[in-house]
Structure formats: C-alpha cells, structure tokens
C-alpha cells in the first residue's frame, strides 16, 4: 500500500542513499536487497515484511555478479520501493508474489537507468588524451555525478513505491489464502539456494550436503 507522506519522503531519501551505495559511494552493501528491503520495511512500519521480501530478492540476486562493465539489474532501489509498498499490507503470499514480480521488473528499469547515468558520466568526465584538467572542475563534476546517482535512486524509489502501492491496492488478483503462491515462492527460494551453490564450485558438494543435514536437524528441532 502507499505509505504515509512522511514515510514516503523518508523512503525516497533512503532510496537515494541506497542507489549511491550500490556503486558510487561507500559500497557498504546497504544496497543489498536483504538490507535495503528490511530497512525500508522498518521505515514504512513493518521490518518483518521487509525482511521477508528482502530474503527472496537477495536469493534471486546471489548469482548476479558485477564484474567489469557487466550490465545487470539493480536490486537496491527496487527492493526499497517494493518493501515500502508491501509493508502496509496484511501478510499474504499472493501479495508477496505480486510485489516480488514488481520488484524484479523495477530492478530491470533501475539497471537501465544505471546505463543512462554512466553515459552522463562520460560527458561529465574529462575526455581521454587531454593534457590538462583543472582539479577543481574534476572534483565538482565527480560530486555532481554522485548527486545525479542519488537523484536517480530517489526518483526510482518515489515512483516505484507509488506504483507498487497502487498495484497492491487494486487487490483484485489476490487469492485470500495464496496456497499456490506459497508453494511457488518456496520452490523458487529453494531453487535459488541450489543455484547459489554453483558459485562456490561443484567440488564442495560434501559441504552442501553437510549444510543440508544441519538444516534438516534445525527443522526437526523446531518441530
């Protein structure tokens, strides 16, 4: 749902911070979906909703590697927008499914906006081969590029939260129980964990099995 104006404003500012954390400034990984969605959920009133959404988005993002000039979906602002809208709902797996699809679409748009920003940065940066570059000018343009990234994230989160909130408010497609959605979400989460294992090399299959055994033990102990 669409958050209160104060919470929406806080989400927009947080979205800008998340966007710059992704690449431009810091890279403390506030921009990881599990962090961004949880904190956005806390801002919008339900960190538990945010954490649940962040859990899924993080699982889907484990296999996205920002190597070199690779183009990839940008998860941070999308996670903030989706969590900001999802936090106001009563929990249902159908709503989670809808907001997850929204986030996966929005992070594609966010990724495209990163490409646009990088093109803008080409204009802001001194062209190669110049023999003289004023230090103050370079510094100002560098800060301007970071500011543009912040603004990009803020706009993405503002628009995204409103759009996701509107979609959730329609509600006509949400099954009350959402059993199929629950099963599908469990399946994609389990599948994503399997895929994540491939990052670490097939030779570690014994460790995967050991982890699975501990997981079974945890399930048994939890009843």
């Amino acid at each position: 749902m669409i958050p209160e104006p104060g919470a929406l404003l806080a989400l927009v500012v947080f979205g800008g911070a998340v966007a710059v954390d992704g690449t431009s400034l810091g890279q403390f990984m506030l921009s990881r979906p599990v962090v961004a969605a949880t904190l956005a959920g806390a801002i919008a009133g339900s960190p538990e909703h945010g954490a649940l959404l962040g859990l899924f988005l993080e699982a889907f993002h484990l296999t996205v590697l920002p190597v070199g000039a690779a183009r990839y979906p940008e998860g941070g602002p999308a996670a903030v927008a989706a969590a900001g809208a999802y936090a106001g709902t009563s929990h249902s797996f159908s709503a989670l499914l809808v907001v997850l699809i929204f986030a996966l679409l929005w992070e594609r748009l966010a990724g495209a906006s990163v490409q646009g920003l990088r093109q803008l940065n080409v204009r802001l940066s001194p062209p190669p081969g110049r023999e003289s570059v004023r230090s103050g000018r370079l510094e100002r343009r560098h800060f301007l590029a970071i500011g543009a990234d912040f603004a990009r994230g803020a706009v993405l989160v503002g628009a995204g939260t409103l759009l996701a909130g509107w979609v959730l408010q329609q509600g006509f497609f949400l099954l009350p129980q959402g059993t199929v959605a629950r099963l599908a979400l469990g399946a994609v989460l389990a599948g994503s964990m399997g895929a994540a294992f491939r990052l670490f090399g097939r030779s570690r299959v014994a460790l995967l099995a050991a982890g699975a055994a501990v997981g079974v033990l945890a399930l048994v102990l939890r009843g």
Binding site: L25, F28, M29, L30, V34, A42, A51, T63, L65, P66, V67, G68, A69, S94, L97, L100, R118, N121, V122, L124, S125, P128, R130, E131, V133, R134, S135, L138, H142, A145, I146, D149, F172, F173, A181, L183, A184, G186, A187, V188, G191, S192, M193, G194, A195, A196, F197, R198, L199, F200, R204, V205, L207, L208, G211, A212, A213, G215, V216, R222
Partner: protein
C-alpha cells in the same frame, strides 16, 4: 615521504570510498582515481598549477580496479608521485596493476565473500532470527573484510610503491576466498533445506521443494529465467482463478 602527511593519507582513504562516483564507459574509474589522488597531487605540485593540471589529466585516463583494492594503486601511485617518478613509469605501473586488482577483488569479494555473507543473512532469517540480527550480521561480517581491504591496500601501496606486487602475491586472498566458498556452500545447503521446510506442509510439497532445489543445482546461474517463469505463471493462474470464481 614528504607530501604524504597523516592528513593526506586519511584523505586518500576517505576519498577511496568514492572512487567509483563517476564510473563511465570511457575511462571506467579513471576520473574517480584522479579524484582520490587530488590531495596528494595538490601537495606535490603546490605552486605549479600547470604541472598539477597535467598530473590530474594523466590520472584521469582509463583505469579500472576492484573498488576496495583501488587503495593499493592509490597508495603506490601517491608514493611514486611523491618521489618524483617519471609520468611514463607511473602510467606503465598503473596499466600493469589494474588487471590484478580487478581479478583478485572480483574473485574474493563478489564471487565468494559477498554471497557467503548474504547466505548467512538468509539462513538467519529462515531460522527465525530477528530481522535486525540478520541485517547486522550481514553488514558487520561483510564490512569487516571490506574495510580491512581498503586500509590494508593503502598501507601496502604507500609502503611498497612499485614493489606492491609482492604484497599482493603474499596476501592470503586465495585462502580467504576458499574458506568463504566453503562457508557459502555449507550455508547454501542449510538455507535450501530450510526454504523447503518453511514452505511445505506435506510429503508432496516437500517433494516439490526438493525438486526445485535440485533444479537450482542443475541450472546454476541460469536460474533467474526459471524464477521469472514460475512467478509469472503462478501470478497469471492466481489472477485467472480469482477472475473466474
């Protein structure tokens, strides 16, 4: 090290957090690298504006590195500039270094450390830990290595200058990456089972979850398309069921 006062070193470290601030397709982090070096260049070329602007132009050219290990190059180049090394030597050194700094960081941080830390957070949430504990665990563990890499990189760069390659070879990056991958593989197994267990209420549902886990193992990095397909199909079925009921 005349120009490299404590204040300048601190400025180098702080500015390194913004090394990717103007990332672009032409010079990659070149502009950001010049931005990081500015406090050093301003001291080295104090009183000679033309030489300063020429040095800024040289350092704003194409450069790339893993962002956390850019401090290795920044420290070493700061030392070379302070010692008055010829520009061509500095340029060749940067060219030689950038491939290593990129590949070491990508393999250690992006491919091993970050996924392992994220899996830690996922596992904690699936185990029922409070949300703040999962987030705090992720941020603390991840950034312990992140911050150490930045500080260590600047230290060895300033200390070793042109000979920084030896420090990179001797650093325990390989071993650290292996241990992180071990932890990641273990946590992937644990989180996979917990994900199946959380979503399942009966034998058929457990079987579905187990099949999904196996499919993920098989698909690997291609899983994202399968995730998309499942989510969209289920949403469409959900919508049709509601519309017709």
């Amino acid at each position: 090290l005349t120009a490299l006062t404590r204040g300048v070193r601190r400025a180098l470290l702080l500015r390194s957090f913004a090394v990717q601030g103007s990332w672009n397709y032409q010079t990659l982090i070149g502009t950001g690298f010049a931005f990081v070096l500015l406090p050093v260049l301003r001291r080295v070329y104090r009183g000679d504006e033309d030489a300063l602007y020429a040095a800024v132009a040289r350092h704003a050219e194409l450069f790339n590195s893993h962002p956390y290990l850019a401090t290795v190059a920044a420290g070493a180049v700061a030392r070379l500039e302070d010692e008055g090394a010829p520009p061509e030597t500095v340029r060749r050194f940067k060219t030689a270094l950038r491939g290593s700094l990129g590949s070491i960081g990508d393999r250690l941080v992006w491919q091993a450390w970050r996924p392992a830390c994220a899996l830690l957070a996922i596992t904690l949430i699936l185990l029922g830990a409070p949300w703040w504990a999962a987030v705090a665990a992720f941020l603390l563990v991840y950034n312990a290595l992140h911050l150490w890499l930045r500080v260590w990189g600047l230290h060895v760069g300033l200390r070793d200058g042109l000979a920084v390659g030896r420090a990179l070879r001797d650093a325990p990056f390989q071993r650290l990456g292996e241990r992180a991958s071990d932890a990641g593989a273990f946590l992937a197994g644990m989180a996979g089972v917990l994900a199946v267990g959380d979503a399942s209420r009966g034998p058929a549902e457990y079987a579905l979850g187990a099949a999904a886990l196996a499919a993920g193992l098989w698909l690997g990095l291609r899983i994202r398309w399968a995730v998309w397909a499942v989510l969209v199909v289920v949403w469409a079925v959900d919508t049709i069921v509601v519309a017709t009921s």
